[in-house]
């Protein structure tokens, strides 16, 4: 059976999950079945089928499991959003369609991801540029400058796009310099360091990103970028020392930020003692923990938890964006929460398998970096809402409400699948490459013939 046929089969559980979930929510709402969500479900099914067909045509040997897992996550997210507000779910379904188009464009326009290597510095600059644009033209919402307002009150979060661009840049850059980086030539405070010529640009880039996110007051993204950077340095060099040094630098840096930025102090204090200020600063986290506790082991079922009050406000502020995990675990209980975590874990496992099976350094770094970005982002936000780490407002991939996140992560998945397909075909040249190679061969042949004639 071909990977694509298997993929189609594995999509069935996601479809059932979406249908049963939407049915459960609808029946909890009105005591009867409501066919309202059916067009939405159908729309998302069409989007996934289109993505599947694009893969069939352009990347037939790509991993068969990634898209079905994404489907499951998307189904849970949409059902939970529909439960919070049908309008939000309808919006999100439209964003899914946009994400699907972005996915298809990526798969069609980029049959070989290795062309990205040619634009290493351009992509790096674009990542920084997006953040600069956010800094200059951004709108501040809840204290953080994350959004760019475009026509009609729509906002986009360019940091999400910058995330993918940064991974691409680092993959290309580190692919070139990994040998240099892996051999330390000096020592700083007893830690072996690579030559400055190789490390410098990387540090500069990272510093620029971090400085920007600190200015934008978006520590979640700062933390995510740092995590991605350390993960990819480790992948490239295989040296734990660098990562350890990076973590140590991070701890020192965080301590410094903690003493200087009051907002961060509040956030850490709320993390350590959320119940001390349960009505004000700690409100969000405490309500999240209450919702988790109410869910218990098996949960009351989709649509049957207490997430929205009778006047339409959510019991946890920012429930549809930052606290989607709490919403799911509250209604589906520990069993549902564990299921969701395992869903992400399996997705990451597939991502790393794709990285391990890739044939060249760039592909390995790119796949590994994209996967690490996904995993770290999930850990950051889920860790925040379960009080494992201080709360940061990054989105939960594929579940949180919001267009930028959906579209970016769909493109991220497209890149992973392209890499997967390329490694499965032994990096055989694409049709376009083949044509170009044939053309070159013909030209050489012609040239040789000319020389022969001349001789």
């Amino acid at each position: 059976m071909s990977p694509r046929t298997r993929e189609l089969g594995f999509m069935v559980p996601a479809l059932l999950l979406g249908l049963v979930g939407a049915g459960s929510v609808a029946s909890a709402r009105t005591d009867t079945l409501d066919y309202g969500p059916l067009p939405g479900v159908a729309g998302v099914v069409v989007v996934f089928l289109a993505m599947h067909i694009a893969l069939r045509l352009r990347a037939p040997r790509a991993d068969a499991y990634v898209l079905p897992i994404v489907g499951v996550l998307v189904a849970i997210g949409l059902v939970e959003l529909y439960r919070i507000s049908p309008e939000l779910a309808a919006d999100q379904a439209i964003w899914m369609a946009v994400g699907g188009v972005a996915f298809i464009i990526t798969v069609v326009a980029l049959p070989d991801h290795r062309v990205l290597e040619r634009y290493t510095y351009l992509i790096g600059l674009a990542a920084v540029g997006l953040l600069v644009i956010t800094m200059v033209f951004g709108t501040r919402i809840n204290g953080a400058k994350l959004w760019i307002q475009i026509g009609g009150g729509q906002t986009v979060q360019l940091g999400e796009v910058a995330k993918v661009l940064m991974v691409v840049f680092l993959a290309a850059y580190l692919r070139d310099k990994r040998e240099l980086l892996a051999i330390p030539t000096g020592r700083v405070m007893g830690v072996p360091v690579p030559p400055m010529a190789a490390l410098g640009p990387v540090l500069l880039f990272l510093g620029a990103c971090l400085a920007l996110v600190v200015v934008l007051n978006d520590f979640g993204t700062a933390l995510l970028f740092l995590g991605i950077f350390l993960a990819m340095i480790y992948l490239a060099t295989g040296r734990v020392a660098y990562t350890g040094f990076g973590l140590a630098a991070f701890v020192v840096g965080s301590a410094a930020v903690y003493t200087v930025v009051p907002r961060i102090q509040t956030r850490v204090d709320n993390w350590l003692r959320p119940f001390d200020d349960a009505q004000d600063q700690g409100y969000q986290l405490v309500q999240s923990l209450y919702a988790l506790a109410e869910g218990g082991i098996i949960g009351p079922g989709l649509g049957r938890g207490f997430l929205v009050t009778s006047d339409g406000t959510t019991v946890i502020p920012a429930l549809q964006t930052d606290f989607m995990f709490s919403a799911v675990a509250s209604e589906l209980g520990y069993i549902g929460g564990v299921g969701l975590l395992l869903g992400f874990l399996v997705l990451i496992q597939r991502g790393f398998v794709i990285a391990a099976q890739a044939n060249d350094g760039f592909s390995k770094l790119l796949a590994g970096g994209l996967t690490a970005a996904l995993g770290l982002q999930a850990i950051l936000i889920i860790g925040g809402v379960t009080r494992l780490i201080p709360l940061t407002g990054v989105t939960l991939p594929f579940l949180s409400y919001g267009g930028s996140s959906v579209v970016t992560n769909f493109v991220l998945i497209a890149l992973l699948l392209i890499i997967s397909h390329r490694s499965a075909t032994g990096n055989a040249p694409s049709r376009r490459e083949r044509k170009r190679a044939e053309q070159q061969a013909r030209e050489i042949e012609r040239a040789q013939r000319r020389e022969e004639v001349a001789a």
């Binding site: 993960a231 480790y234 992948l235 490239a236 295989g238 119940f275 349960a278 009505q279 309500q287 923990l289 209450y290 919702a291 988790l292 506790a293 109410e294 869910g295 218990g296 082991i297 098996i298 949960g299 009351p300 079922g301 207490f306 009778s310 019991v315 675990a329 509250s330 209980g333 520990y334 929460g337 564990v338 975590l341 992400f344 874990l345 990451i348 496992q349 790393f352 990285a355 391990a356 350094g361 390995k364 770094l365 590994g368 690490a372 995993g375 770290l376 850990i379 889920i382 860790g383 379960t386 009080r387 494992l388």
Partner: protein, 477 residues
């Protein structure tokens, strides 16, 4: 690079492992604590959706029930208290903003249907989400009489079945309306502390009712019998000062029985000194003084009886305090009506102290028994023949002593009892007490009555209340 990839995967997987543990902590381990936190909107909402079980009296009266109603299109339940203020302190209220009290609190798990496999069955849809009914041993006929008798005064009544420890009545005055408590708490007049359950948590000096405890210690010690003789000169010297008899009377040569009948302070002070703190303290401990009675009410609604400042019962080490004064129920001793009812109940039950209990059984919606309260003996405080001897002495108190107003001779029933009149700082005001049981042979009810701030004595203010309550209990049987 594949080794690095594998290790990075393991690191992220470990991160997910931590998330798994943390999630389990909140959803499984700490969930109960979180649900009990005040201000938890989840719990408040969840409770409104539960068809909470009823609270019933032993004679089948509905003390608390739930009724379905619709709020914003959602089916929610509201609590009803059809009997208003009857047994308000025992039943307790359940309110979003003020939490729970009384039986509503102690049996919440059952009333809310969150016991055993219920929550699982309910969530799977195999069972309706409805709490179990709690049936109390309380009899509204006895309770009503107790509350009537207390009306307009401050005080408390506790009536127990001495054979089982079952609470037949527990009244505290002034009282409040339960329906008002959940709809408009501020409308409860804050006059005289109506919310306080004086019966289980009000602490009063026991006065002469404590002589039953001293008598128990005396008989148990083997040093005294009902016929032991004493000589009274009207005064007894202690380190803390002179002890005199009530009304300044002098009794001369008399027996132990007479000492109890006439509540002779000098004789009981002498006995206290003679027994010493260890013996008296041992008897007090056996009766349950110093520890919270194991009744099924919330912890903060039940007080332990003992020294006012909460130290150990005895020995006493302060110069102005002595065993002689403790023996006549004065000094730094304060007790709850419930504890004194337990004393009377122990004598009535041949010396065996039973654990006081409000719940008699719990039934689910289909009438199936979920739980039944089995009588539980806590302590053999004295031998059965000592109890019989003490009973005879207490019969004499009601027949010809200070407690004649507690007699039920018209009903053909012999009553055993003891009065008490504890002085307060205001010389014209007393705390009037009566403890006793009836019938004196094969008793069915033991009572303790306290009336606060009265100018009368235990014999005139408390004994008639006790008589009415005991009669009601015998008739209700």
């Amino acid at each position: 690079m594949n080794r690095s990839i594998r290790r990075l995967y393991m690191t992220l997987a470990a991160g997910f492992g931590l998330l798994l543990l943390m999630l389990g902590w909140w959803q499984v381990v700490a969930a109960g604590d979180l649900r009990d936190r005040p201000g938890n909107l989840q719990t408040q909402q969840a409770e409104r959706l539960i068809d909470r079980g009823r609270i019933l009296s032993s004679d089948g009266k509905v003390l608390a029930a739930s009724r379905a109603t619709r709020v914003d299109g959602q089916r929610v339940f509201e609590r009803l208290y059809p009997q208003g203020s009857l047994a308000a302190h025992v039943v307790g209220y359940t309110s979003d903003s003020r939490g729970k009290t009384g039986v509503e609190s102690t049996y919440n798990r059952y009333l809310a249907g969150s016991f055993g496999t219920e929550p699982l069955l309910q969530r799977l849809g195999a069972k309706e989400k409805r709490g179990a009914d709690v049936i109390l041993s309380l009899d509204t006929r006895v309770q009503q009489i107790a509350e009537q008798e207390l009306a307009g005064q401050r005080g408390a009544v506790v009536a127990l079945d001495p054979r089982t420890g079952a609470v037949l009545a527990m009244a505290s005055a002034p009282t409040f309306d339960l329906q008002t408590a959940i709809t408009d708490f501020s409308a409860i007049p804050d006059d005289g502390g109506p919310l306080l359950n004086r019966a289980a948590s009000g602490r009063y000096p026991p006065g002469s009712t404590f002589k039953v405890v001293t008598a128990t210690a005396a008989l148990t010690s083997g040093l005294y019998t009902a016929d032991s003789t004493f000589d009274d000169t009207g005064s007894y010297e202690t380190p803390g000062g002179e002890i005199r008899n009530f009304g300044g009377r002098t009794f001369g040569n008399h027996t132990f029985t007479t000492a109890l009948t006439n509540s002779i302070n000098t004789t009981f002070a002498r006995i206290g000194d003679n027994l010493g703190p260890a013996t008296l303290g041992g008897t007090m401990t056996a009766y349950g003084f110093g520890t919270r009675p194991p009744i099924d009410l919330p912890d903060d609604e039940v007080s332990a009886s003992g020294r006012r400042d909460g130290d150990e019962l005895l020995p006493n080490d302060q110069p102005d305090e002595d065993t002689a004064r403790i023996a006549i129920g004065q000094e730094r001793l304060t007790v709850t009506p419930l504890q004194m009812a337990m004393v009377a109940s122990t004598v009535a039950n041949g010396g065996t102290l039973m654990a006081p209990r409000l719940m008699s059984r719990i039934e689910d919606r289909g009438g199936r028994e979920v739980q039944r309260a089995e009588p539980q003996d806590l302590e053999q405080v004295m031998a059965a023949d000592d109890a019989a001897e003490l009973t005879a002495m207490m019969e004499n108190v009601v027949r010809e002593g200070t407690g004649t107003a507690a007699a039920l001779s018209t009903a053909g029933v012999t009553v055993a009892g003891k009065t008490g009149t504890a002085e307060t700082s205001d010389a014209t005001r007393n705390q009037a007490w009566f403890i006793g049981f009836a019938p004196s042979i094969d008793p069915v009810v033991a009572v303790a009555v306290v009336i606060e701030d009265t100018s009368s004595t235990g014999g005139t203010a408390a004994a008639p209340v006790a008589a009415a309550v005991m009669r009601a209990a015998i008739e209700a049987r």
